[in-house]
């Protein structure tokens, strides 16, 4: 089976009913999609399948053969963060980080399909993602900022008290 992950074509040897999540993490070593509830309820394994956010734990890999998979690694790089990644850094929207990669790809898809900066609309779009640190206010702040295209100076964020981000990273 062929699978394109973050622009790179892979030949996959896992059995056809293996979950996309297991294939990404165990066979291909792409570890940003997290193994949370494994029943579709927490959102931490969310990846983009042909640009649509999907739960990787619910997809048999055979059902997505030939698809383009995008994980958070495919959104940006440490040197050049995507707008929503930069906004997450600026607004301190990540705490423990376990939900962050799922939220980032879901928020990216929300922005790509023309979502507004309305807080209720953002909350609806991200309703399938559970943050057990309960940092929802900052997450919604960040997505709204990314929707608006707010100018963010991440050198200020990097020098702040609450981040361990290395200097030089920023958009």
């Amino acid at each position: 089976m062929n699978l394109t992950v973050n622009g790179r074509l892979h030949v996959v040897e896992s059995p056809p009913l293996a979950t996309l999540l297991d294939v990404l993490r165990e066979e291909l070593g792409v570890r940003s999609p997290k193994v949370g509830c494994e029943q579709g309820g927490c959102g931490t394994c969310t990846v983009l399948v042909d640009d649509e956010p999907r739960r990787a734990c619910l997809l048999p890999v055979a059902a997505v053969e030939g698809a383009e998979i995008t994980t958070v690694e495919g959104l940006g790089t440490p040197e050049r963060l995507s707008p929503v990644q930069a906004a997450f850094v600026h607004h301190y929207a990540a705490q423990c980080g376990f939900c962050t990669s799922g939220l980032l790809v879901a928020a990216h898809a929300y922005i790509e399909r023309g979502g507004s900066d309305d807080r209720d609309a953002i909350a609806q779009a991200l309703a399938g993602h559970v943050c057990r640190c309960t940092g929802y206010v900052k997450i919604i702040d960040a997505v709204a900022a990314a929707v608006r295209g707010d100018q963010l100076d991440l050198t200020v964020t990097a020098a702040g008290r609450y981040t361990t981000m290395h200097s030089g990273g920023g958009a």
Partner: protein, 262 residues
Amino acid sequence: MTAATDVLLPASPDEAVSAFGDGSGLTVVGGGTIVMPEIAAGRLRPARALLLARAGLAGVTRDGATVTIGSMTSVQDLVGLAAPVGPCAANIADIEVRSQATLGGNLCAGQGQEAPRGDLQGPLLAVGASVRSAGSGGVRSEPLEEFLAHRAKRLVLDVRYDEPAAGAFVALDRPHTHEYTALAVSAARLADGSVRLAATGAGWWGRRLPSAEALAGDPEAAGRAALADVEMADDALASAWYREQALPVLVRRALARLEEAA
């Protein structure tokens, strides 16, 4: 799961019907939202699996007032339909799970371990939908009520109904996005003026409420009568007692909303 699982991936509805055969020994995977967690947890180890992802069974078509929904149509693609079907679809899970979950899976969902499944059964019973399915004896169409009653091994092809003159959907709020609905009532006024009512969460699958329908002109009485049509159970979402208090209220609200919609 083992590497020995024999996986069938039909590329057309005809191929799907022929691969399904009489369905014996076969695990059908539609959107995967119900089956995949069972496989991942090792509770289900299919010897043969039929994946419908490429079977061409998705899509909503209209012919006059008749709506036909392919079994692999995602729940998200039903959100825009008129009440009660559309608002029920919008009430299911979250946008990502809705985009993956399918109509067929919703109708064939087995008894959940912790909660009733199959939210769409209620509204589709209310609008008087019929189900076209394949399996032993070939392709047949039957009312959804009969399809649900015998829970036979069938491959759902599509569901068809006439758009009602008015519809309403009311549900108890869900405690979490991913939980199934604890209790919901769907109402429809059909083109001939008759009123149909059905509940989700008042038994292990969708139930029509004929005693309430007979008293639809008197919402208070209809609400009380509905209790005769259901078998409430305790589960992780709500107790039977709580559901018995809530059902008459939801029936009353659904009939009031139907009146407003008319």
